[in-house]
C-alpha cells in the first residue's frame, strides 16, 4: 500500500494529502438534503466515475457506508480514508475508493463531494494533479455549485473558493522531545496553518505525529496556496532535522537509551496498547532516521503503524475484547520486528 512507502523527505514527512470540496448545483448540502437528494448525489457521482470510460474507472470501487458495521467504518476512518463525521448513519454516505487507497472520494460528508488524494512523503504536486484530474472528470457529467465571485460553494464558508485543503503528516520527535514544538505550532497558526495530532483523540499528538493543514481556501489560486504551504512545511522539516542533530550532539546516550529501549520493548512486550505502540514506533522511527537502528526500514515502521490501529486489528482478527486486541497488537509488532533490526554501531 502507498502508506508503507517512504517518499521524498520521508525522514520527516510520512504523507501528503490534497482534498477538494465540491457540491452539486441545485441540491441542498447533505445534512439538509432529504434521502432522495442524498441518493441522487451518490448515483450521480457513481455514474461519473464508474459508468464512463476514464483512467480511474477500473481501479475505483463504490463502498456504501450505510450498510457497513460501525467497526468496519472505524477501521477505514483510522486510515483517514473517511472522516469521523462519516461514521454516523444520519445521511446516506458512500465513498469511491481506488484499489491502492490513494484516491478516496467522500460522498455526502459535510459537502456532497470531497475528492481526496494521498501520497507517500512530501509530494503535494502529485496529490494536486490527481485530485485535479478527478475533479475535471466529475465536472464532465455533473454541474458544481459555483459562484463567479467566490468560487466553489461549500457547506462551511471556510472551505469556499478553491475548496482545496492541503495537508502533510509529519513526524516531529526531536521538536517534541526538546519542547519546542508548541512554539512551532504557534508560529504556524499565525501563518494560517492548523496543526493537529493524528491517530489520537482530539488534538493529542500520539507518536509525535502531526498533521499540518493550510486554512486558506479563498482569494488565491490553488497553485499559489500550494506553493506557500510547501515553503512553510519545508521550514518545519529543516527545524526538525536541525533539532535531531542537536539532540544527537548534546544528549547522545540519553537519546540512544530511550530509542533502543523502545525497540527492546516492541520486540518483547506481550501487551501493547495503541498509544504506547505509537510512542515506541515513533522512537524506533527516530532511531532509524538518526542512523542508530538498522536492519529495519522506515517502510516497515510505516506499515506497522497502520497495521496495529485498533479497529483494524479488531476487524482483521475478528476480536471484540480490548485485552485480546492489545495482545494481538504486541504479537503483530513482535513478528514484524523479528524479521530483524539491530543497533548500528
Amino acid at each position: 500500500m502507498w502508506y508503507t512507502e517512504c517518499g521524498k523527505d520521508g525522514d520527516v514527512v510520512l504523507s501528503s494529502r490534497v482534498r477538494l470540496a465540491r457540491n452539486l448545483k441545485g441540491i441542498p448540502f447533505p445534512a439538509r438534503a432529504n434521502e432522495e437528494a442524498q441518493n441522487l448525489v451518490l448515483s450521480r457521482c457513481r455514474e461519473a466515475m464508474l459508468e464512463r470510460e476514464n483512467p480511474w474507472q477500473r481501479q475505483v470501487k463504490f463502498i456504501d457506508l450505510s450498510v457497513m458495521e460501525p467497526y468496519e467504518k472505524q477501521a477505514i476512518a483510522e486510515r483517514h480514508l473517511i472522516s469521523p463525521q462519516m461514521m454516523d448513519n444520519n445521511v446516506k454516505r458512500g465513498i469511491l475508493l481506488s484499489d491502492d487507497n490513494q484516491l478516496s472520494i467522500l460522498l455526502n460528508e459535510e459537502d456532497h463531494i470531497r475528492i481526496q488524494v494521498m501520497a507517500a512523503g512530501f509530494d503535494l504536486e502529485r496529490c494536486f494533479q490527481d485530485a485535479n484530474q478527478v475533479d475535471d472528470l466529475m465536472e464532465e457529467t455533473v454541474e458544481y455549485a459555483f459562484d463567479n465571485r467566490i468560487g466553489y460553494l461549500t457547506c462551511c464558508p471556510t472551505n469556499a473558493g478553491t475548496g482545496m485543503r492541503a495537508s502533510v503528516m509529519v513526524h516531529l520527535p526531536a521538536l517534541t522531545l526538546s519542547g519546542t514544538v508548541n512554539q512551532v505550532i504557534d508560529s504556524l497558526a499565525q501563518l494560517g496553518m492548523t496543526v493537529r495530532g493524528i491517530f489520537g483523540e482530539g488534538s493529542k499528538a500520539v507518536g509525535n505525529l502531526y498533521q499540518i493543514s493550510n486554512q486558506l481556501t479563498l482569494g488565491a489560486t490553488e497553485e499559489d496556496i500550494l506553493e506557500k504551504f510547501k515553503q512553510i512545511v519545508e521550514e518545519v522539516i529543516e527545524k526538525e532535522r536541525e533539532m535531531r542533530k542537536r539532540l544527537l550532539q548534546t544528549q547522545k546516550y540519553k537519546l540512544e537509551d530511550r530509542l533502543m529501549r523502545s525497540l527492546g520493548i516492541l520486540k518483547y512486550a506481550v501487551i501493547l496498547n495503541s498509544d504506547e505502540a505509537m510512542k515506541r514506533l515513533s522512537d524506533v522511527r527516530l532511531g532509524i532516521e538518526l542512523g542508530l537502528i538498522g536492519d529495519i526500514t522506515l517502510e516497515t515502521v510505516n506499515s506497522i503503524i497502520y497495521e496495529v490501529l485498533p479497529a483494524n486489528i479488531m476487524k482483521k482478527y475478528n476480536l471484540s475484547d480490548p485485552t485480546e486486541r492489545d495482545l494481538k497488537r504486541a504479537e503483530i509488532v513482535r513478528e514484524r520486528m523479528e524479521e530483524g533490526c539491530s543497533k548500528i554501531d
Copy 2:
C-alpha cells in the same frame, strides 16, 4: 565462581552462608585493642591458616585491607566477602580469602575472627561443615575466648554462645509482586529471624532479593539451630513457589508482559543504573524460573548480578564517572544477553 552456580532449590535460594564469630583469649575486642594487639590477631590467624600444613593452606590468601583503596574494598564488600564495617581504616583489618571465594575469614571486624563460608543454592550443611573444619583448625594454634556457661564470647552479646549465624539469600519476586512479602517477613521476625534486602542501601530489597538470617546463637546446639532455620526457610521457599503458580494462573499475560519487557530492556538499554539492572534481572530470573524465558540460564543471570555491581565495574574498567559506569553496565548486560535468550512458547 561459586556464586554463578545454581544449587539446590536454586529457583528461590541463590546462596547459603554460615559464619562463626570467635575471639582470642586475653586480647581486647578489635575496636578497643591497640595497634599492637590488632596486629597480633592478624599474625596469629595467618600463622594458623597459612603456615601449617592443612587442607586450606594452598587455596587461601591473606589480604591486608589497610593497604587497599576504598573502591577496591567497596568491590569486595559488594560481594559480601567483607562487611561494610570493614571499610574504615580505624582498625588493622584483613581477610583470609580462598581462591574460590567460598571461605572468607574476616579478621578484626567486630570480633577478632569471623569464619564465613558461602555456597550456591540451599546448602547450609556444607557451609557449616567447612566453617566447622576451619574453626577446629584455628583452634589448634590459637586459644578462643570461651565461657563454660555461655559458650564463645563475642563483642556483641547477641552473637555469644555458638557465635553462629546462618543466612540464605532468597529471590522472592512473586511474594513481593503480590504484596504478601511483608506478612512473611513479620512472621519470620516472630520466629526470631531477620530479613533484610541485599545489594541495596539499608534494608531496601533491590531485585526482590532478601537475606534471611537466624538471630538465635545462644542456648541450643549449632545443629539444632540449623535444623530449625532450615525448616523455616523451606516454608518460605514453598510459599514463594505457590505464589508463582498462582500469579501464572491469575495474571499470566500481565506477568509475562512485565518479564518479557524487562528482558527486552536488558537487551537494548544503553544506560542502566544498578537498581534498575537488579530489578530487570529479577524479572528475567522469574521468567526463567517460570519457564517463560529460555536460552538463558539462572547461572548466567547470577553471574551478571555480581558482574554489574557498581564498585566491581568501576574497579574492573578503571572508571570514576557514574555515567560511564552505567553505560558500561548496559554494555556488559547487552553482551551477556546477546549470547542468546528467547521466549519459550
